[in-house]
């Protein structure tokens, strides 16, 4: 009789999810990107076999090795049955035997995932499709889970995946890490996708969970791979890694046990993860190598100031404002502009902040963002203009889809009325 719980506790959290990403990447290299679906099917079949067999036969001593072995056998079967298909394009023909034997070498797996990341982030693939494909192939998200994470219909996710796979088929994309002058720009596209993925986790648009730690972890895992590979370890990658460490360090203090938002000035700073802050510092030091100052550098520098301030009031706001001014010159986005006014309010007061907010060029369409109205509301509160404060906060409530954001905005209105 098998001992019931022994193996269960040994089975690592997210084992299937982690190994699925590696296997899809390695098999896509083997089958060619045009046959991504086949790679995904082999992996799904493999996991299903584990699903059926492990409860009956017990969890194997080395679960990963078991998965890899089964997937390899299925892959060989697949190649045998699809010779014609694979030979249709000599560029993607099946490799000689030894390559299959080396399919799961750890150092190759990491490389395969990197290559897959670059394929997902091909400049001709739209941003949202890049992230969708990364989540599906490398992070083991299902169509339903992606739809939930981004509050979009499942159908939209399926279409995005379908289009990107079609693109792979038509372009016969090779799984390569770009070289030469392309490398830097292509890496920046990958970094952008990781950044967007992380932001979705950090401030999820999903109405129930404001924080999606799984998305944040995945973004960090992917970025860490970039920093570990000698081709892709550019300063921007280190800076983004630093930024993510700093942001994640505050996860535990950002929400109350009931899931309510705790604003920065009310957070318990002893609950911040100082180990992550230290890691962030190390990445920051490496990011300082060379003379590139990217948006990630500046955002990380801002996050660093917040992480190392002993209290909200002693935060080095003038320094933060400096960084925001610089950031706004590099990326004059609506989001940067609005956040910059928060720093202005701390340094020069609400009147200056109001002026700055009103001076944001109209083409930025800042008033589409709930954050614009939330910040405007806060500025009016500080100016003592209750009527306008209320109007702005109500507008913000209308726009945000997050239930927790709505609640905290309502609290502010309630405080106004008292």
């Amino acid at each position: 009789m098998p001992e019931p719980d022994r193996h269960i506790s040994e089975l690592a959290d997210h084992l299937f999810r982690r190994e699925a990403g590696k296997m899809v990447a390695a098999l896509t290299k083997l089958f060619g990107t045009g046959n991504l679906q086949m790679a995904e099917d082999v992996v799904q079949d493999t996991l299903l076999l584990a699903f059926n067999s492990w409860p009956v036969k017990g969890i194997p001593d080395n679960p990963s090795a078991w998965l890899f072995r089964v997937a390899k056998n299925k892959a060989i079967d697949c190649l045998r049955h699809n010779r014609h298909l694979l030979h249709a394009d000599p560029e993607e023909s099946l490799p000689a035997g030894p390559d299959i034997d080396r399919l799961w070498k750890p150092e190759l797996l990491q490389d395969d995932m990197l290559r897959m990341m670059f394929a997902c982030c091909h400049p001709k693939i739209p941003d949202e499709n890049q992230i969708t494909l990364i989540l599906k192939t490398l992070c083991g998200f299902s169509t339903v889970e992606i739809a939930k994470a981004f509050l979009i219909p499942e159908d939209t996710v399926s279409k995005r995946l379908y289009r990107t796979k079609e693109f792979f088929r038509q372009e016969k994309l090779r799984l390569t890490i770009p070289s030469g002058i392309d490398l830097e720009s292509r890496t920046n596209v990958v970094l952008n996708a990781i950044y967007l993925l992380f932001n979705e986790g950090y401030n999820s648009t999903q109405s129930e969970n404001l924080l999606r730690e799984d998305l944040m972890e995945d973004a960090m895992m992917l970025c860490r791979m970039l920093t570990e590979d000698k081709h892709t370890q550019q300063p921007e990658a280190y800076a983004l890694m630093a930024l993510m460490c700093f942001q994640c360090s505050r996860n535990k203090s950002r929400l109350s046990p009931e899931g309510e938002i705790i604003l920065l000035n009310k957070q318990d700073r002893t609950r911040w993860n100082y180990e992550l802050i230290n890691q962030g510092n190390e990445y920051m030091n490496r990011a300082a190598y060379g003379d590139a100052v990217s948006a990630y550098h500046l955002e990380a520098a801002i996050a660093f100031e917040h992480c190392t301030a002993s209290s909200f009031d002693t935060t080095n706001w003038p320094q933060i404002l400096n960084y925001y001014n610089w950031l706004y010159r590099i990326t004059p986005s609506a989001f940067t502009a609005i956040n910059r006014t928060v720093a202005i309010m701390q340094v020069d007061g609400p009147k200056a902040a109001l002026e700055a907010l009103q001076n944001i060029p109209a083409n930025n369409k800042t008033d589409q963002f709930y954050l614009y109205h939330a910040v405007l509301g806060e500025i009016y509160i500080r100016l003592g203009d209750c009527a306008n404060a209320r109007l702005s906060l109500e507008k913000a409530i209308q726009i945000t889809r997050s239930a927790a954001e709505k609640r905290i905005l309502r609290e502010k209105i309630a405080a106004l009325l008292n």
Partner: protein, 112 residues
């Protein structure tokens, strides 16, 4: 003690499930089956694939697949021991299939 067969229908959609869902669901099945095994109530069982055929009637008419609807197909079976139908039902209540809206048919096996 009597023997019962449990016929499972529906449950997790394997083709659409994510690796994480498969792992979590698998562990729940394992926990449930391990408990039955430890209590000496598990006789055996198998999972079934979706491929099959139905022969029916005097004409032995052949049709593809057991049913058109995926959730109507028996996806697996277990044979268990229980004191009576009531206990077999209680045992089945803990089965993870219900989390994904599946169903389980419980039938006593005629002992010969």
């Amino acid at each position: 003690m009597k023997d019962y067969i449990l016929l499972f229908r529906g449950g997790l959609d394997f083709e659409a499930a994510s690796p994480e869902q498969l792992q979590n669901n698998m562990l729940k099945w394992k926990t449930w089956m391990d408990k039955l095994g430890a209590e000496g109530k598990l006789l055996g069982g198998e999972r079934l694939t979706k491929t099959g055929a139905v022969l029916s009637g005097k004409q032995k008419q052949l049709s593809d697949g057991p049913y058109a609807e995926g959730k109507e197909v028996v996806g697996g079976y277990l044979a268990i021991k229980a004191k009576d139908l009531q206990e077999a039902i209680e045992i089945t209540r803990d089965c993870p299939i219900f989390e994904n809206d599946g169903s389980t048919e419980i039938q006593e096996i005629v002992k010969m």
